[in-house]
């Protein structure tokens, strides 16, 4: 805060004290003066009027005789007394009828000669004549009649007094207001002067008083400012014993204790600074430690990251060359090496092959590949040693260690140290070698890390190799699969052509197209027909299943009437039911809407189920039902046959499964029907299930959406 600003702040305090007192004093004095003037004016006016009234009244009396006789002389005498008064400006005596009987006074000329209002009663009024203001007092001139003789005699007043009095004229006495106003003005001047004098005295007193109050405050402020600036030794000179004096004392006391506190604080600050310095040292030390650890951590993180990248590269690529290049590059980074190579001992275990290399020139590679190689624990060749013992081998300085193949070339290329690592266990045929420009051993950590990498890489190499083989196989399989459909078509055709002839001719024979057949011949011919048809069903089922398995089975979707479908199944199996003497019924609600799906496959499914039911039922009935349940189309085939044990139901729908292997033999059937049914139902987006009780019969269900979506076997 600037001193200027401080002073102004102080000044305003004094001004405020001054200006808060002055208006009160001023308004009081002005009010007082105004009240005085008003009172005096009233008194003067009243006195003036009283005088005027008395003058008028006196004149009225004095003029009675003059007016009665209308004697001007008498009236002049009567007026003389009044006119002696300096305030009287004019006097006019009127007769009873308003005529002017006499006039007098200095200013009577300016007053109009007219009557100027009634004169029969006492009154006063302000009038103005030729710019001059007067108060006019009017008094009637009354003549009292003497008592009548009767009245005297009777001793009574017959008439009231007023009737006996008679107004015979009036006087008008004008007093000039100028005199009164002059008096009042003089009075106001006097009071104004007194008030002004008072005001000036008050101002001086107030100013002096406010100075007296504000001076110690100002002093206090300046002192406090000094203390605030740090001069705690300053003391305020206490002069008064009032609140300001007390404040100053308190201030001095506070300064004292502040001085003590400040000393304590300075000490504490010094201690704190000392502590800070120590702390800083410790932090710096700790930071250094942390940095070191951070570096170590970062390095291990880098290692982990590198391993992760290698793993990812191995996982993401099955291309052997790509995987090996990734491994070499990472090994280079991990070891801080200048070059890296991956070598493989050939099948004859005589020569090395370079599988991958980074930073190795052609010449070195040629020498390494050209040299005879083997797996010998005692060899000078580090690669041979690694191949033999399955442990890492380090050559800390190629310049010192003689006998390493390619030593001269390594040194020429600026490579001074090498680390050879086995890829896999002892007897493995892959070696990874990292080369560095600086001589010296790699620390254990690095060796361990690189060993891990080398071992992991081995897996990658195997995987890539395996993939290569698999890839070839899968290409073959794909080709085989491409031929499968043609194959199936051919097989189907090849099987059906002779079957067509067999069954066709047999039917012609049975129909006696070639002449009559004996009763004995009919049975075996019928058997041929039955067996042929059975063989055909087996062929159909096998082909269907193959097509489904190959994903080549497609539904041919269209609208169909469920009742027609069920009727077709019944028609195709009716003869079998009749042969066995079974009741064979269908139950389809009439209001069932048109369904959407592959009706041919639905017929096939129902035929499979109903065929089975007829097969496994010796007496009783087989029923095919269909109904709509919760928007689904539910088919049901129930029989009164031998039933299926509960634990066998689950496996019913697997391929080549019938509840009992012997049953298949007894009753015929391919064992594929249920499996195919299941597949077709699933292709329609439905499901199939069975309920059964041994000895009582079975019910097979399948439910499909009323409107199936285009499905394909998977």
């Amino acid at each position: 805060m600037s001193p200027r600003r401080r002073f102004r702040g102080f000044s305003s305090f004094r001004t405020r004290v001054f200006w808060s007192v002055v208006p009160i004093v001023v308004s009081f004095l002005v009010f007082q003066a105004w009240m005085n003037i008003r009172e005096h004016r009233r008194l003067v006016t009243e006195e003036f009027e009283k005088r005027g009234r008395a003058l008028a009244a006196n004149l009225g009396f004095a003029s009675e005789l003059g007016a009665f006789s209308e004697d001007t002389q008498l009236l002049a005498v009567a007026m003389r007394g009044a006119l002696r008064n300096p305030d009287v400006a004019y006097v006019i005596v009127h007769a009873g009828d308003g005529r002017i009987l006499a006039t007098g006074g200095r200013q009577v000329t300016v007053v109009a000669q007219s009557a100027g209002g009634p004169i029969d009663r006492t009154q006063s009024r302000h009038v103005e004549h030729a710019g001059q203001r007067f108060i006019e007092f009017v008094s009637p001139i009354v003549s009292e009649e003497t008592q009548t003789p009767d009245e005297v005699l009777m001793g009574t007043r017959i008439r009231p007094q007023t009737e006996r009095e008679k107004v015979i004229g009036g006087v008008r006495v004008g007093l000039a207001l100028a005199g009164v106003e002059e008096q009042v003005r003089a009075l106001a001047k006097l009071w104004g002067g007194i008030t002004l004098a008072f005001l000036m005295v008050s101002a001086v007193v107030i100013y002096a008083f406010s100075r007296r109050i504000t001076k110690p405050v100002k002093q206090l402020t300046e002192q406090a400012q000094k203390i605030a600036d740090g001069h705690l030794e300053e003391q305020i000179a206490v002069q008064s014993r009032d609140e300001i004096g007390q404040l100053a004392t308190a201030f001095n006391r506070m300064t004292g204790s502040l001085q003590v506190t400040m000393t304590d604080r300075a000490q504490a600050l010094a201690e704190l600074q000392e502590l800070n310095r120590t702390l800083e040292d410790r932090i710096r030390q700790r930071t250094l430690e942390l940095e070191e650890r951070g570096v170590a951590l970062e390095r291990s993180l880098e290692d982990v990251r590198a391993m992760g990248e290698v793993s990812r590269a191995i996982g993401s690529s099955l291309d052997l060359g790509e995987v090996l290049d990734t491994i070499s590059t990472h090994a280079l980074h991990l070891a801080g090496a200048a070059a890296c190579g991956i070598f493989e001992l050939d099948a004859a275990r005589e020569h090395l092959m370079v599988v991958s290399s980074v930073g190795l020139d052609e010449q070195i590679l040629k020498i390494l590949e050209g040299a005879r190689a083997s797996a010998e624990a005692g060899s000078d060749d580090p690669i041979a040693r690694v191949l033999a013992i399955g442990q890492p081998v380090q050559i800390p300085d190629l310049a010192v260690d003689a006998g390493v193949p390619g030593q001269k070339e390594y040194l020429q290329a600026g490579l001074r140290a090498l680390l050879a690592l086995p890829m896999g266990s002892a007897g493995a045929s892959h070696v990874m070698v990292v080369y560095r420009r600086e001589p010296g051993r790699l620390d254990e950590r690095a060796v361990e890390l690189l060993s891990t990498l080398a071992n992991q890489s081995r897996v990658a190499i195997d995987n890539a190799r395996l993939f290569k083989e698999l890839d070839g196989k899968s290409r073959q399989l794909e080709a085989a699969s491409r031929h499968k459909s043609d194959f199936l078509a051919n097989v189907s055709h090849e099987l059906r052509t002779p079957m067509n002839a067999i069954l066709g001719f047999n039917e012609l024979i049975l129909d006696q197209a070639y002449g009559p057949i004996s009763k004995d011949m009919r049975r075996p011919l019928t058997d041929i027909q039955q067996s042929g048809k059975h063989l055909l069903r087996v062929i159909n089922d096998v082909l269907d299943l193959s097509k489904i398995e190959a994903g080549r089975m497609q539904l041919v979707l269209g609208e169909y009437a469920v009742a027609d479908t069920v009727a077709a199944v019944r028609a195709s199996l009716a003869s079998l039911a009749m042969e066995k003497g079974l009741e064979f019924v269908t139950s389809v609600p009439e209001d069932l809407p048109l369904a959407y799906g592959d009706s041919k496959r639905i017929v096939q499914c129902l035929t499979n189920l109903a065929g089975n039911a007829l097969k496994f039922t010796q007496k009783g009935r087989v029923e095919i039902g269909a109904e709509s349940v919760n928007g689904e189309l539910r088919f049901r085939v129930s029989d009164t046959g031998i039933g299926i044990p509960r634990e066998r139901i689950g496996g019913l729908f697997a391929e080549f499964q019938q509840a009992d292997a012997t049953i298949a033999r007894d009753f015929g059937g391919t064992g594929l029907g249920l499996s195919i049914t299941k597949r077709f139902v699933e292709m329609h987006g439905g499901r199939v299930w069975a309920e059964s009780e041994v000895g009582r019969g079975s019910t097979f269900f399948f439910a499909i959406p009323l409107r199936a979506e285009a499905g394909r076997s998977s």
């Binding site: 189907s492 066709g504 001719f505």
Partner: protein, 129 residues
């Protein structure tokens, strides 16, 4: 009026004999061809009243032969029954799309085949037995 002729295009001789036997008691006259190519040649030459076309044929497939014959004025309206082997889904559709009037899956019942032929090509009454 000469007897109605039926051309049977089929590479399997035994099956051709079967159809011969099936048609023997009827008044239909049977023509035969062992492959698609000769089948088409015979159809153009003889103008049969009905053709039985096996789908799987050497040289030119039955589907192909059917399509070609349908495109020619001489055989555009001749009823053609495709004999399929129920090999792959859509065989029947393929045959119908190529222009076959109807199809019969192998192995067919002689009775059914004759029924179908009679439906498409009513036999002349009184001639033959």
């Amino acid at each position: 009026m000469s007897a109605k002729t039926i051309l049977y295009v089929e590479d399997n001789e035994v099956n051709r004999r079967l159809v011969q036997d099936i048609l023997r008691p009827t008044s239909y006259k049977l023509l035969e061809a062992p492959d698609g190519e000769s089948g088409m040649a015979m159809a153009r030459q003889e103008h049969p009243d009905l053709i039985l076309m096996d789908v799987q044929l050497p040289k030119v497939s039955g589907i192909e032969a059917t399509r070609t014959l349908r495109g020619e004025p001489g055989t555009a309206n001749t009823p053609i029954i495709a004999i399929t082997s129920f090999a792959l889904a859509g065989d029947e559709q393929k045959a119908l799309e190529a222009g076959a009037t109807a199809y019969m899956a192998k192995p067919y019942s002689p009775r059914d085949l004759l029924g179908l032929i009679r439906r498409l090509l009513p036999e002349d009454q009184g001639s033959g037995g």
